[in-house]
């Protein structure tokens, strides 16, 4: 099979580097993939597929890094978008759709009594910490080492442009390690405003790790006893494990929950939801942005929630993900290769079990991508409810060819 070329992507990128620092920055930077083996610029998308500017078509298993959940250009979502766009997007006031969306979310998400909106995940993770500080009068925050909560100074994984004070109130503990958690609780007793955690651990460059038995119960009990606000960062997993919130999937009750990504099916929106007892604190913490009250993404989100309920999107994603990951595992065996699958099926990850340095995974994902299925070697993948059995079968064909190349190159 003739594999894809990315000449136009490269040409445009060359121009971009003269105009834009890094050319493409952040999580979509080609530097964190395998440059030369991946597309740089997308042209259009439909369902579970998208096309790059070289005309290459991809079955998409990264889903815009999460925001695509029902399929690109989803008819019901886009109809809601175009209807709202005709009326307008930003005004001197929010649109009535803001109240409609808040009501839908409060009715849907378990244990949450109110909602506010912003644009990005980082907006709401940072704001939720302010709410916790306002509520407790304390300054410190505990988070899991290696977790990602956004690009703001207190949590960015970047190194540049930071000062020591940015992190001086943020302390780390290890996922699934109760003694490491309790050590920090004891060390900073009476000073901790919030514990912020993702519902399961999904670090880049690593396996996804589910909560150990009793982990969430320990966290919740300790937070309750110590009067620490428990914040769940459901930005990545939200609406892919359980539409009522990933805390329902894992069986615990947080105080505040942050959503983004899937909520708008590619239309920019994030939300922070909370329990009643934090509502007055939330009301005091200044929250705004030039575009944060825009109506179009909120109209999109209303449609997204409706479609998710109608079609049971989570089940489709789980089923398709299971077929994909079991298929990849079986195929690897036929090639005499060992892979390690981790994470829930709707947000899976795979790497080769006999390496920690990702060299095989980089080659494998590049070869699969060059054949038409977009896989990321270092970041968890995402399924959408638009993925079909046909997609999975085609992807397994791409994987078969790529496994062969890995086997030839590495031997095992």
């Amino acid at each position: 099979m003739e594999t894809y070329k990315f000449d136009k992507s490269m040409e445009l990128f060359k121009k971009a580097t003269t105009l834009i620092p890094s050319g493409i920055y952040g999580h979509e930077s080609p530097a964190i993939l395998v440059p030369g083996s991946f597309p740089y610029y997308a042209e259009r998308g439909q369902g579970s597929h998208y096309w790059d500017i070289d005309g290459n078509e991809f079955i998409d298993y990264i889903c815009a890094y999460g925001p695509m959940v029902l399929g690109y250009n989803h008819p019901k979502v886009e109809a809601a978008v175009s209807e709202q766009s005709k009326k307008g997007n930003c005004f001197n006031h929010p649109g009535p759709v803001m109240v409609e969306l808040a009501e839908k979310l409060v009715n849907l998400v378990s244990g949450m009594d109110w909602s506010v909106f912003a644009k990005n995940g980082s907006d709401v993770t940072s704001w939720s910490i302010q709410v916790a500080r306002e509520h407790t009068g304390r300054s410190k925050v505990l988070m899991v080492s290696g977790a990602y909560h956004g690009a703001h100074a207190w949590c960015t994984p970047g190194h540049a442009g930071l000062i020591a004070e940015d992190r001086s109130n943020v302390h780390l503990f290890t996922w699934n390690d109760e003694s490491s958690f309790h050590q920090q609780i004891e060390k900073y007793r009476g000073e901790i405003a919030a514990v912020i955690m993702t519902p399961y651990h999904h670090p880049a460059f690593g396996d996804s790790i589910m909560p150990a038995d009793g982990w969430w119960q320990t966290i919740q009990k300790t937070c309750n006893e110590e009067e620490i606000v428990l914040i769940v960062d459901d930005v990545r997993a939200g609406f892919r494990l359980d539409p009522r919130g990933s805390h329902v999937y894992f069986g615990f009750e947080p105080d505040l929950v942050c959503f983004c990504k899937a909520i708008g099916n590619t239309h920019p929106l994030s939300a922070c939801m909370g329990k009643d007892k934090f509502k007055n604190d939330a009301s005091k913490v200044f929250l705004t942005g030039s575009y944060w009250n825009s109506s179009v993404p909120m109209a999109a989100a209303c449609a997204v929630l409706d479609v998710m309920a109608e079609e049971n999107s989570v089940k489709i994603m789980m089923d398709m993900g299971e077929k994909l990951m079991k298929g990849l595992e079986d195929l690897a065996k036929t090639h005499g290769l060992q892979v390690k699958i981790s994470g829930p099926y709707s947000i899976p990850f795979m790497r080769f079990a006999n390496e920690d340095n990702f060299l095989r995974n980089q080659l494998f994902c590049a070869e699969v991508t060059k054949r038409g299925s977009f896989f990321h070697p270092h970041h968890n993948w995402f399924l959408s409810s638009a993925h079909t059995e046909d997609d999975i079968n085609k992807t397994l064909e791409h994987a078969d060819a790529a496994y062969k190349i890995v086997k030839d190159e590495f031997g095992s």
Binding site: F13, G23, Y25, A31, H159, A160, N357, L359
Partner: protein, 254 residues
Amino acid sequence: MNSEQVLSRIYLRAVLPLLEEVVGYDDVAKEMVKSWKCSIMLHQAGGPATTLVFRNGKCDALRRSITIPSIALYLTEPAKLNAMFQGQNVIPIPWMGFWHVGILAKFTELTKRLEYYMQPTDEVLSDKANYAFIVKLMLYAAVFGACEVANHDDHVASLSQNTAEGVLQIKILPDGPAAYIKKTGGVFSAAKGEAPGAADAYMDIEGVQLAYELFSGQTDAMAALGLTDIRIRGLIPFVDNVNAFLDRLSVLLP
């Protein structure tokens, strides 16, 4: 360690040993040392030492003390050592072998040859061979300097602790030079050339000009990666962290 202490380590372990290369390349330096048969040890009180051994017209840099050097220069504080490397008039105390003090003046002359390449004029740089040589010095200073930062600088302590063990191989294409950084047993170390066996991360730099621009902070590395002029593969977080150590190195080294 504070910045002065880290900087003195960088001078001793990453910069001073470059004399080894200078003596191998520079005709003026070669001429100076051709009859030298001595060892010069620089020792920072309570800190590291580097010994330069001269014989047969060559210089070997040992990143340690030796028992009986011909001459030992003792610097009481990191700040003094740093000032000396920055060209200020600091007189180190020769606490051993002061009868060899005549060598000291000559040694100072020799270090000027290092400066000639480390702070090159446009004219020096315009020579192709010099340019390639300077890039080699920059590469070696970078890998050894990055290790001093990673091992000792409080600013990067948690990053350095959280870096997985492994080997990063850096190579300037097509024919080198190459060098590698290794973390084993919690300690970073560097070496010239290619690492024995497979590395965990690779960084290939397309040509000496790009390498020069990269090491002198004149290029957008992320853009160069996207353009595939710099290629990294394997354990990318290792590369990323080394990059942070190098950024810190460039802040420390004036």
